[in-house]
Assembly symmetry: C2
Homo-oligomer: 109 residues x 2
DNA sequence: AAATTAGATCAACAGGAGTTGATGTATCAA
DNA sequence: TTGATACATCAACTCCTGTTGATCTAATTT
């Protein structure tokens, strides 16, 4: 279990956006939730989620390129897992956002 | 300042997805970051971000419907602010995701 | 070496999300 | 009451993102 998260470098707006965009798809979110349980082989994911192979592969690529998941090849299988650093970084970015948003507006115009 | 977040009800996958989708747009993220500084009037946002009025209005609507921001009308001006509950809920959802993802896969197939 | 299997990649297509300019509505000023 | 201002909404268009089925590559088995 991860008790304390690694210091998670502060995220630039662009980086946060890339992560959010990769997460903001129903199918990719299913994949992410499945990987939230632990590492999975592609063939397991295909079965669990009932997806066409090329479809899953497409979304795994998006997640990989966003840095949300990592893959390791073993023989002819491919295992993917979440990258908790990415999740933690996004989490932290959200936290900063929420911390200072209560300032009332000065009357404008 | 918000020291402890309100208990933030656990988020269903669908709800998390809606929040993520609303956040995953470059323009909306700019709006969100501006509102991260505190409440803003629409005319201020238009100026700060250099946006066409109808464009901004469109994105504010998306954010409002996702529950990420709240608006209050004052005279003929509209003030928007972030809803920290929404941010916190998403933050928590991400945390749960990251906490159990290190389980190695049992060899599959 | 030939056949099989896992997964990645590609091209063509389809649908949805964002943009733009115009119009609508409510509030305030003159 | 008339005009101006702030913002929302709408219709038409554009473009990007995801889907589908086929093909490609690499590892494995026989």
């Amino acid at each position: 279990m991860v008790l304390s998260s690694p210091p998670a470098a502060a995220l630039a707006g662009d980086e946060a956006r890339a992560l959010l965009k990769a997460l903001a798809d129903p199918l990719r979110l299913q994949v992410i939730e499945a990987l939230g349980q632990g590492e999975r082989c592609v063939c397991e994911l295909t079965g669990e989620l009932g997806l066409a192979q090329s479809k899953l592969s497409f979304h795994l690529k998006v997640l990989r390129e966003a840095g949300l998941i990592d893959g390791r090849q073993q023989g002819r299988w491919m295992y993917y897992q979440l990258r908790p650093e990415a999740i933690r970084a996004l989490q932290q970015w959200l936290g900063e956002l929420a911390s200072s948003c209560q300032t009332p507006a000065q009357p404008c115009c």
